[in-house]
Symmetry: C2
Subunit: 348 residues, 2 copies
DNA sequence: GGCGCTGTTGCATACGAATGCAAATGCTTT
DNA sequence: AAAGCATTTGCATTCGTATGCAACAGCGCC
């Protein structure tokens, strides 16, 4: 049977003090005599008392909980983010309530749960939010921070890496490496990250008088990216470079080229990704990519959330963090590298 | 400023009913007249009322929350588990509270948070628990289910895949493939999964009159596994097969062999892993491995937790689920496959 | 019309801890 | 010894919702 939990009242009885005294022993800045505290803690220990966080939340009106909404955990990039975020918030005495949501409809139902759960803040990792829901959160004074997504509403904060300049660097790097038939493999059609990377990339090509050879969509998914690769390479004259909107897809491209099409990377085709996930560094891939500053992004998101929670002021702030090009073998034919405005290339 | 939330009392006033009536509108099986419900819902809608889950939890003594303790999210195997578990519990109206914990000490502090949080159940993914903490959970009537770990205490439930027979299959498969110098790469020294896989593996070798050629420890970590590989292969006569206790390490072995030692897989060395993570199927690796039934394991864990929560009976149950050998190129020299008692090989 | 029945409703209380306020304690000071 | 002050303590109330109980309404039936 479920045991009835020990309450502060019972501890108070045993210690011969009032319930308030017990409560004060477990509040950081409460006024309590050392001797009393000792007595109370002994009694608490003896009974196995643990303060009930639910009751505390009710009266303090703060659950010390952050709701996290994620769309994909199979992408190691976001898994890493989640892990780091969890540790970060744990340090500040906050806990994460995890929600998975693939589509916007699911997000609506999930948001309803979140609002009922009294979370103190909401962190969205690559998940989108309808503006009506965003508005409701802001109206209730719950800060929302989105990582790597944008939303058409002002009240929510956004943290992203500099996708535009990352894409720009890739475009320039490929052109300067001597590539001539450069293709782009997009992520999800409606994702801001993919389109910003694409825009920077196209601008770089244009500045060098090169047009994008071909485009395809891979939905940030391995299998879809494989199919897209086959489509891109079925013509007699195929691309000599592919920029995939993330590493996951870039890996799929490399594997498909090697295994199905008998093409060598980078000898026949240069491939560049985005994110710098751990796999990218593996000897089999040696993927040239653009590193997103995971920890800095999470730190920024944490600071925004905790800051707004503390101040009670919910406002939409935007942070764009610099990215770092990582040059590896998959696209490094020519090493005449030059610096990009916002990005220092690093050879690893 | 943080807005004062709308309460059921305010809705009641607007709708011209009592607070109880409002409450009953949001409880599934409460007795309420359709006409009243309509009035109340309209008022709730107008005010933007959402029931406060904290207050509800306090009175019902059930938070509808499951605490999840994880040790590693960088292993896609556990990331997949978490994602599936989240969706599964979401379906049942439960939410996940996520905690990361690497070592046993951290787990102790995390458990303290969990007990205060009034979670209805605890799910441990590849994390260990001291028996004193386990005992406390059981004493409080909080069910605990561990996936892929064992604990020296009876009250907690355990779900695991059949590591022993998985290891056994690997041992036999390698011997029957003609390998003679077979090495084992262990995971964490104290993990039950690694030692069970090892035991099955060694038993299979012994039954065929073969001794294990060498052993090393890789801590389930890419870099450590790379170092271990170098150690295993530094002698003139090196292994002709390696069984790594999980895929993550097996991939590290393959990469290290190819990139640093100039050895071909499977031509020079056969490599087998465990888990069947998505990477294992990638064309570059084609890793022979033993698949753990992720969804079945989570389903089982979910059923155990929800069952014990519903009945109020906390008890230690053990479930061992069958594994499925997956034969791919990394270890398939000879295809004279035979069936293993608990495992049907599948060619994918 | 009175009786009993089913289905709704409101009242009052409970959940467990935090906190403003006033009372009480202990200590110093003159 | 009395007054003054700072610190500690207990009392009573509060957070927002669920629920047992009693009151009540509506209905059909004899």
């Amino acid at each position: 049977m479920r045991k009835r939990p020990v309450t502060s009242q019972e501890v108070a009885n045993l210690a011969g003090v009032s319930q308030s005294a017990v409560s004060r022993c477990f509040s950081p800045n409460a006024s309590i005599a050392p001797k009393t505290k000792e007595k109370v803690l002994a009694a608490a220990q003896q009974l196995g008392y643990r303060p009930n966080a639910i009751a505390r939340s009710l009266i303090t009106r703060s659950s010390r909980t952050i709701a996290v909404v994620m769309s994909q955990l199979d992408n190691p990039f976001y898994a890493q983010m989640l892990e780091y975020a969890s540790r970060r918030f744990q340090q500040h005495g906050y806990h994460l309530l995890l929600f998975m949501s693939s589509d916007e409809q699911e997000t609506a139902s999930v948001m309803s749960d979140i609002l009922q759960s009294q979370a103190d803040g909401i962190l969205m990792l690559a998940a989108t939010l309808s503006s009506s829901l965003a508005k409701e959160c802001v109206a209730r004074g719950i800060p929302v921070v989105m990582i790597n997504r944008t939303v058409a509403f002002e009240g929510v904060s956004q943290v992203a890496s500099d996708n535009y300049h990352g894409g720009y660097w890739v475009g320039r790097h490929l052109v300067e490496s001597g590539c001539e038939r450069i293709a782009f493999l997009a992520g999800l059609a409606d994702s801001s990250t993919s389109s910003q990377r694409r825009q920077g990339f196209l601008d770089a090509l244009a500045e060098h008088g090169v047009a994008c050879w071909a485009e395809a969509v891979g939905d940030y998914d391995f299998t879809t990216a494989q199919a897209a690769t086959r489509a891109l390479f079925k013509a007699d004259v195929y691309p000599d470079a592919v920029f995939a909107a993330n590493d996951h897809m870039a890996i799929a491209v490399i594997d498909t080229l090697k295994a199905e099409l008998g093409l060598q990377v980078p000898h026949d085709v240069a491939v560049v990704g985005f994110d710098n996930i751990p796999v990218a560094a593996w000897p089999s891939y040696q993927l040239t990519t653009v590193q997103q500053p995971i920890e800095a992004m999470v730190d920024e998101a944490t600071a925004l959330l905790l800051g707004q929670i503390a101040s009670g002021q919910v406002m939409g702030e935007r942070k764009v963090l610099p990215v770092t090009p990582i040059v590896r073998d998959s696209a490094a034919r020519d090493s005449s590298l030059t610096l990009c405005a916002h990005a220092q290339p690093v050879r690893k």
